[in-house]
Symmetry: none
Subunit: 201 residues, 4 copies
DNA sequence: AATGAATGAGCGTTCATTCAT
DNA sequence: AATGAATGAACGCTCATTCAT
């Protein structure tokens, strides 16, 4: 009734949404994207199935929102990193470590790849996803530009480097799917080394 | 006794199996792995649903066989490449081009990633997949070893390089999912360049 | 919190379960156990197919529950009968009449026999069924013991008599499958007479 | 061409039919009636699936023929028994032993019960089965008549006794389904005892 | 807002039967 | 007569979504 309540309602709504998204990510991480049913998500979120549909119109939308949240979060991370003080190599190392450390990055990556493949995804949705993906490349490119200026990173188009770097990271992260043993350990230093100018290594 | 030609039957069987696997790959490529139904595969293969089950005991098995075929085929390719005459850089370039050119490599990659994630995949199956994956690294490592000897590729553990290279390629290939436009073109030369020793570039 | 009445829900659940079991029995009675499909049961119960699976995890489980309900019901009947006042012969007559009168006893019998034969039935399930079967013999054996004491029933091991009596009843009941005309009427008195001591008949 | 060949063909046909029926009985005994598929029967009979349809027009017909064969065989057995020298009690004992000994009598019994229940069975077919069943009671009734005359079997309508006796045996036989342990051993003497006149026991 | 029972289209799979050889 | 590949209707079951409360 009062603006107070309206505001509190809105906050409640935000909290519920986050709760659902967290549950969705958790379930996806444990059961795999294909086997994550909304009943699982509801159970994980400790919410009723029906109530989920008060916050999302479809399962699709949940995954879509989850992906968006991930992309936005990642975007913030890189943007902050780019704006920080420090050398480009330090920043790249930090970023690589973040990719390889985070337990659930592969979930986001799978989600991204899946959403690209799914014919269910609408063209607008695709556009949005791709747009955010491209936007997130910019601060990373800035880091590469800084590194090139500093002479510590390989020469070349900074945006191109950013794109290759992200692809590289995604490829690596997908090797970390739980239950898999890879013959070689994945280290942030190693990844970054490929992008460094050898003269200064 | 038998009014049938046994040899012909066997050939027919092989052909049908390939037919089904091709159809499965095609459907997967168009609809995505999660949405590829048996009926789609049957329709694409111009075979009845029931008949598919003369050749495969389950949908799972089809994907498993498809992945295996891809891994074996790729294994042959790298092995031949490693045994060829030529410099390591040339070989790496050839390989990169093969990855980026082949329309359906991303299908295999998705399949690989998905099979790793699916809890349906039996532990033995997983072991087999991981085993083939690891085995396929060996000839690639040999190429890296050659390159290091030749002084054209970066120093380091050849197997480690091989692992990173494959992850890199997979990450790139996943950007090529149809319907997606990436802001940067993917070029084999660029990929290889990251693994080259800068002194000789 | 909950906008639902928990107690009512629970009652509703019980009612639905009975509704489904009744439908299953009815369908089985009309179409035979092998041809009783989930869709038939759903139609008979005026419930959707999917909803059935809110109450039972499988078709198997429905039949299992139906059999159990029958066994438990029969067990109560014999136990009460054994505890009643009256002569053993009177009790046996009552029991025989119950067997021969009840329209659906043969359904239970078929179910029992089928469950024994089905390789789908798990060993634990089998054990439970056999256990209930054996347990239900005890009160019947008590009746035979009483009769022997009273000198109206044949001498011998009461449990053995009970076992033979039940087998006999089952055999008779299976002649009453609908659509069959047997050349001889089945009468409770006749059955009991075989177990009576002739001196007192 | 020659009558010789025609005759041999006919014999061959008979042999094949028996081969198939034997296989059907065997499969039914091992897998249960519901799970006996014609592929199983074909495999057991070492014959191709398609070829089975040269001898039977449907799976139904196989079971029907199997049941008929069993009924006819049983009919011969009782008829011979009735015609034999010996007392009625001896004959009844022999018959009871035959019922309880034969490993596969329960298969026939299940088949009989199932055919009665199946709505697939045509009315004519049912009539035939019931007719044979009734016909087979006659020689058994003759044995009872003899026993009554001899004063060793209970008084009463011989046909009625026959009917009850067969029902009893069927009930007992169904307890012998493999994989089941019953709390009481089944003995031919015990069964017969219920039909004996106590004065002479 | 919240619940979870109810729905039904759709899935993977089976299997009696047919057909080309 | 003999083969077994091929067919497709039908089954049991799942699950995203809706609805009555």
């Amino acid at each position: 009734m009062s603006p107070r309540n309206a505001e509190r309602d809105l906050q409640m709504r935000e909290r519920r949404i986050d709760q659902i998204l967290d549950a969705a990510r958790e379930v996806m991480a444990v059961k795999g994207i294909g086997s994550a049913g909304i009943n699982d998500i509801a159970a994980e979120a400790k919410i009723s199935i029906g109530n989920i549909y008060h916050y999302f119109t479809s399962k699709e939308e949940i995954f879509s929102a989850l992906l968006k949240r991930g992309q936005v979060g990642y975007g913030k991370l890189v943007a902050e990193l780019a704006a920080e003080n420090g050398t480009a190599v330090e920043k790249l190392l930090k970023l690589s470590k973040a990719w390889l450390a985070a337990d659930n990055v592969w979930t986001q990556t799978i989600l991204l790849v899946s959403s690209r493949m799914s014919e269910l995804t609408s063209p607008e949705e695709r556009e949005a996803i791709t747009g955010r993906f491209a936007a997130n490349l910019t601060p990373l490119a800035a880091i590469f530009e800084q590194g090139i200026r500093e002479g510590t990173l390989r020469d070349g188009d900074p945006l191109e480097h950013a794109m290759y770097f992200v692809s590289f990271m995604q490829g690596l992260v997908l090797q970390q799917v739980p239950g898999i043993r890879v013959p070689v350990a994945l280290r942030a230093e190693r990844v970054v080394s490929y992008f460094r100018s050898e003269k200064t290594e």
